[in-house]
Amino acid sequence: MAPDATPDEPETGAGAPVAPRIVPVTTTLGPLRPTATSGQPADAFVEYCLRLADDRLVLGHRLSEWCGHAPILEEDIALANIALDLIGQAEAFFSVAAEAEGRGRTPDDFAYFRDDVAFRNAMLCELPNGDFGVTIARQFLWTALQVPFTKALSAASHAQLAGAAAKAHKEHVYHLRHAADWVLKLGDGTPESHARVQAALDGLWPYTDELFYADGVDAAVAALVGAPVVTALREDWARTVEAVLRQATLSVPVADWTPAGGRLGRHTEHLGHMLAEMQSLARAHPGAQW
């Protein structure tokens, strides 16, 4: 190869006569510390934002796995669009967390350079896509809460947090329309579609309890900026979910166990596998630009 030849992959420098410069992770990130909660209101605020952002990043990544695999072209586009919205929302909430934290971390640092134990998403968001019925049921159950939640959060006294929530709210409204529309079509569709979406709801239902997990973080941020505590929205959520399931001729499941721990970094084994794929490029080429 001639010394001045173009690398095979100009973005990464692969194939170049001179090996690309490797930037140590510590140079790009600064010292890494776990995002444990100290009980200080400022830390609680960061933690609260990470819970919002991680739900969106993880669920957005799950939806992106459908790209090229959805049952019809329109649905492929729809799921990819919703994935983009959620990942964009995650970036906005990560930015708020980063500014409050004040340690120079970027949204990319939060997304690509934390391990599963540092993620604060509800476990519902990390569960594998399953069949289309599972994906739709998961999306419906989660989004039915996000609509009233982001509306309440958009009244918080922290301008950036409230602004990100107001933006997210507009998007969740049509995300919910999309998911509820499919729940109606599948539930009130063929015997097979009905059976599959009912099985999906039954399997996911125990994980919905964790969506209403609240602790000192929520109380501190409610006192600090008037952010909503999610437990207050449970009835609102149940009303929406039950009305749609009834209309779709589906039955409301009953949970006989209620897993929890995602908000504190205890996850199912599925998250680690998902992150291994999601983070591999950024970790193999830290600071890569394209």
Partner: protein, 170 residues
């Protein structure tokens, strides 16, 4: 133009030449993405807002705004991204709407205010009437709320049997 001390109007005029990469018939100003121009001594700060949280065109627009201002010789152009207030199709003016229609994209209808928080009510109510940008027929149907870009939905015209895109009202 006196580059040394440009006016806000002059900066807006430069930004009128920056097109939305996904909808090149509109400028970033007509689209409502440019929210503000601030002129500090030796610095030009343009505030932009994304149409949708995940709009992949935002970074391209950010870069093109900076490049256009640099080409015009403005001092230290810089872009600030703001999420507040959230972007709305209400900011697309009548002229821009007509440009969209002529380009083959149905302009956004009136924004539905948050009058129906109940998703079942939203799904079961009468659908919006949208005119086909090609033949003008009002006999059209929504095929998908999700189009090739986040800001557009896909519709079908029964009058001329053509699929078309509509800017979603948000």
């Amino acid at each position: 133009m006196s580059v040394a001390s440009p006016t806000r109007e002059e900066v807006f005029a430069i930004l009128e030449a920056v097109r939305d990469p996904e909808v090149p018939v509109l400028s970033v100003v007509e689209l409502g993405v440019v929210r503000d121009v601030a002129l500090a001594p030796g610095e030009t700060i343009v505030t932009i807002t994304p149409t949708y949280s995940g709009c992949p065109a935002l970074r391209v627009m950010e870069r093109e705004v900076v490049e256009a201002l640099e080409r015009a010789g403005l001092p230290n152009p810089r872009v600030v991204v703001s999420y507040t207030p959230a972007w709305t199709t209400d900011w697309i003016g009548p002229d821009a709407r007509e440009k969209l229609r002529a380009y083959g994209i149905a302009p956004p209808g009136p924004r539905r205010h948050d009058d129906a928080p109940d998703v079942l009510v939203q799904l079961l109510r009468a659908p919006d009437v949208v005119a086909c940008p090609y033949c003008g027929s009002r006999d059209t149907e929504l095929r998908s709320e999700f189009g090739p870009t986040a800001c557009k939905s896909i519709r079908f015209c029964r009058g001329c049997s053509q699929p078309f895109e509509q800017f979603k009202a948000i």
